[in-house]
């Protein structure tokens, strides 16, 4: 049995920032538990640039971005356990782990930060029918084969889903000599960042078929053909709109799912909108002393925001430990809801009395709009409004409600999009 003040589950960008922040806020005995053989998480295979624009004001690659945090560990007393898989977490913050050197062992911690990241949705949940030969990859899996292992996965490619990983992989496959025939997206809009549509598709003349999905997959050994069809407003394929592509590779970029199997087993309540934990303004879950941040909490577009959110979690976990791990006083907490045009908010709850300068709320909108107003209501009273020139589901939004506007608020706070055009 090992004892730590803080155990951070996951050594990707979220876990690294959270651990460093807790350390800088006075916590000494910290362990990072990482299942891979190195720190950095999925950033290690994201060799394209564009990371760190907000945080460092420069364009870094994924590994470079991760390295900036990994380098800072050297000056700390933070323990890193690599190749270590967490098998179980309990609500009393006992962690069961396994690795090659320690074997099966437990860690007891005063506080835990969940930073396990997410996984890719694959063929099953979207119910894609057809053959089950090779050549069908989740985009991230193909990315690992190419960027980490150094093996090209195919030559003629169709991509389903225009999330950021799919867009990045369209460019990556093209640069490695493959022909990307089509990117199909079931929604009438892309879920990726606008800059990725421009830089990864338009610049290479790769066609994007909006409101299209894959309706047939042919090839019992290796993929031979993919058929895509246009869908109606209920996402049902429209007969007669089929387009066939002879190809040996289909990449799926159809969404990311926070990996909360450990959290669920520990009894941490999960928000069905985000598939992540329900958290308060301090990033603490409903379970005392268990915090969550990064993609395990909600899927982010930009790692810069992951780092900022995780630092907040680390800072508050440090406060929790320094205050003797007393259960947080949650009386009078407001519930933050999504209203019209908003699909979720993080945090889902807030204790307004402890808000210092303002309450930060992250959320996503349901559809694209221009010249919109984001309206914040306490019960039925509008307390704040924020103008936005452009809103899209693929770009996470953030508002900060100044403390003075929160005075006297109780019950529910609702975030909605008004004036959408």
């Amino acid at each position: 049995m090992f004892e730590y003040d803080l155990a951070v589950i996951g050594g990707g960008p979220a876990g690294l920032a959270a651990a460093l922040s807790a350390y800088e806020n006075g916590i000494q005995k910290i362990v990072i538990l990482e299942r891979d053989v190195e720190l950095g998480g999925i950033l290690n295979q994201c060799i394209h640039n564009g990371f760190g624009l907000h945080r460092f004001g420069e364009e870094l690659t994924g590994p470079e971005y991760a390295q900036r945090f990994i380098d800072r560990l050297k000056d700390t007393a933070i323990t890193v356990m690599l190749g270590t898989m967490v098998l179980e977490l309990t609500s009393d913050k006992t962690i069961t782990c396994v690795n090659k050197t320690e074997g099966l062992f437990t860690i007891s911690a005063k506080a835990v930060i969940l930073a396990m990241g997410c996984r890719e949705r694959n063929r099953g949940p979207i119910g894609m029918p057809g053959d089950r030969g090779s050549g069908i990859f989740s985009a991230g899996c193909a990315q690992r084969y190419i960027n980490i292992d150094g093996y090209m996965v195919g030559s003629r490619v169709v991509i389903l889903g225009s999330g950021d990983i799919g867009l990045i992989m369209a460019r990556r496959m093209t640069l490695e000599g493959a022909k990307v025939l089509a990117v199909a997206e079931i929604m009438p809009h892309s879920n990726g960042l606008n800059r990725n549509i421009v830089q990864c598709l338009n610049d290479f003349g790769i066609p994007l078929y909006l409101s299209h999905t894959v309706t047939e997959v042919v090839g019992r050994s290796r993929l031979e053909k993919v058929v895509i069809s246009q869908v109606d407003s209920n996402f049902k394929p429209i007969p007669g709109t089929e387009k066939e592509f002879e190809c040996d590779t289909l990449l799926l970029s159809v969404g990311l799912i926070p990996e909360n199997e450990l959290s669920r087993k520990a009894g941490v309540p999960i928000d069905p909108r985000t598939n992540g934990a329900v958290v308060y303004d301090d990033m603490q879950t409903e379970t005392d002393g268990i915090f969550a941040c990064g993609n395990v909490l909600h899927v982010h577009d930009l790692v810069d925001f992951v780092s900022a959110e995780s630092e907040k979690a680390g800072r508050n976990a440090a406060e929790y430990i320094k205050n003797g791990c007393k259960p947080t006083d949650k009386t009078g907490a407001v519930v933050i809801q999504n209203g019209n045009g908003v699909s979720y908010t993080v945090p889902q709850k807030a204790v307004l009395s402890r808000v210092e300068k303002g309450l930060e709320i992250f959320f996503r909108v349901r559809q694209k709009s221009e010249k919109s107003v984001i309206e914040v209501k306490n019960n039925d009273r509008v307390i704040a409004a924020f103008k936005r020139d452009f809103l899209a589901p693929g770009e996470m939004e953030k508002i900060t409600i100044p403390k003075k506007l929160l005075e006297g608020c109780e019950g529910t706070i609702t975030v909605s999009v008004g004036g959408a055009k």
Binding site: R35, K100, L104, R119, D131, R132, G140, C141, D149, G154
Partner: protein, 485 residues
């Protein structure tokens, strides 16, 4: 020539061929199994409902009834002996109206005649008490406590491994192209070689009529019936606790809902008659039918938690019963054909019977004194904490988790790759160790399992295949390219 002569050549390494090999390998016989695919358990055996049927369904007096009841008992025994996951969870056949209620009473009586132990007719209340998530309009059910669930490919692999340990040869990637019936033996031509054998067991599944016709006149035809399935995540696995059927129809036992031995939920199959022998593609229409039909059993299945769809072919023949016995043209050619449901359950009993049949046809052989009838198979996840600690101390590879969804360690992958019949593909490892079978479907672990296969078996990384021949995963080694052009 004579010294290379096999006593028995079994054609087909599915569950029936494997069972025959298992029982024949107990005798002093020179036997081989000839399989066209690159692994065993590659056809119907790997894509079915994975159910051990109690035996109330087949008509009394048929081979199906006889081998079903005996097979259910044998599987229980074999699973324990060979470390194959099996759970006797019982089954329910639901009745939703008067006609259904009549039918379950008929099944009850059939079951009693077939010698199925412990059958009970349950009221609606008793049924719902056993399975609270069922559709509340259920009127009653037939409860069969001896029904169970098993990992069918693992059972097949285990039987093959034991046979291999006891001297049975496996000739994989060996499609049979011709069979010549000589006076006292057969000459089997495969894509690789000519094999001579005194006796042939034809366990070629959906190709059994083709194989039979190569050796002589075939008096049956196979008409594969495709069945499609959903396999849902473990968080749906406890929706039901028994194998839950609806009432059978002329087409078969209908759509079932059941937990699997891995803890997932399986829903299916439909029945598409006269299917192509090589078509196992799922279809939107087929899957929609399965989901719509299963909704009669329960409306609580969350299909967003679907991890995989698959389909398999039932080897339905033009006869009502299993076709098991010597061909009309030769007592030395034993057909094991038309093994539709309850074929998986019946298979071990069929294997046992095939050994008897061969003896009746003149193949006398003593039992081996030293038959190794055990298979050690470690599953990390099923061990106690103390056992896990001890195991990792002995072999640290068991401390390296490769498949995070199912907690499969490097130790278990190496165990599979060093087994008597080592797989060479990702799916071959998957069927033995469970890697990539979870909710991420190999998204994370595929490249790592791939690397271990390449390293351990000395196959170039780019030559490793996903499953059947021609299913390479990567096409080019970029590490060898000049990147400074």
């Amino acid at each position: 020539m004579v010294c290379d002569m096999y006593d028995v050549a079994i054609i087909g390494a599915g569950i029936c061929g494997a069972s025959a090999a298992y029982f024949l390998a107990q005798r002093k016989l020179k036997i081989c199994v000839i399989e066209k695919e690159n692994d065993v358990a590659m056809g119907t055996t790997k894509a079915n409902s994975a159910i051990v049927h109690a035996g109330y369904d087949p008509k009394p007096g048929t081979l199906m009834a006889r081998f079903n009841v005996r097979g259910a008992a044998l599987i229980k025994e074999l699973a324990a002996k060979l470390s194959v996951p099996y759970q006797q969870i019982g089954s329910l056949v639901l009745a939703f109206d008067d006609a259904d209620l009549k039918l379950i009473h008929k099944l009850y009586e059939r079951g009693v005649q077939n010698g199925v132990p412990g059958l009970q007719i349950l009221s609606a209340e008793e049924t719902l008490a056993k399975e609270p998530n069922l559709n509340p309009t259920v009127q009653g059910s037939l409860y069969a406590p001896t029904a169970g669930i098993v990992a069918p490919w693992e059972l097949c692999i285990a039987l093959c491994e034991v046979a291999a340990q006891n001297g049975c040869e496996f000739k994989l990637d060996s499609e049979v192209t011709a069979i010549e019936n000589r006076q006292d033996h057969f000459v089997i031509t495969t894509v690789n070689e000519k094999i001579e054998a005194k006796y042939i067991v034809n366990a070629a599944g959906v190709f059994a009529d083709k194989i039979c016709a190569m050796a002589g006149e075939c008096d049956f035809t196979i008409h594969p019936s495709k069945g499609q399935y959903y396999l849902l995540d473990k968080n749906q696995g406890d929706l039901v606790r028994h194998v839950v059927f609806q009432c059978p129809t002329a087409l078969g036992k209908g759509v079932l809902v059941s937990p699997t031995v891995e803890g997932n939920l399986i829903v299916g199959p439909n029945a598409e008659l006269d299917n192509q022998r090589d078509d196992v593609a799922t279809t939107r229409a087929g899957l929609d039918y399965v989901a719509a039909t299963a909704a009669k059993t329960t409306t609580k299945i969350n299909y967003r938690e679907n991890v995989r769809n698959f389909s398999g072919l039932r080897a339905v023949s033009d006869k009502d019963d299993f076709i098991i016995g010597p061909a009309a043209f030769s007592p030395r050619f034993i057909n094991v054909a038309g093994i539709k449901s309850p074929g998986l359950t019946a298979a071990p009993a069929i294997g046992e019977y095939v050994a008897e049949l061969l003896e009746n046809s003149g193949l006398k052989a003593e039992k081996k004194e030293s038959y190794i009838d055990i298979r050690k198979h470690i599953v990390f996840n099923r061990l106690t904490a103390e056992e896990k600690k001890k195991l990792i101390k002995e072999n640290p590879a068991y401390g390296n988790v490769i498949c995070r969804c199912n907690t499969v360690t490097e130790g278990e992958i190496l165990q599979a790759l060093r087994s008597p019949l080592p797989p060479r593909t990702l799916d071959g490892v998957k069927r033995r160790a469970g890697t990539g079978m979870g909710r991420c479907q190999g998204g994370f672990c595929s490249p790592r399992v791939h690397e271990i296969i390449s390293r351990e078996l000395g196959i170039p990384f780019e030559a490793v295949e996903l499953d059947r021949k021609g299913s390479r995963i990567v096409i080019r080694d970029m590490n060898k390219e000049d990147r400074n052009v």
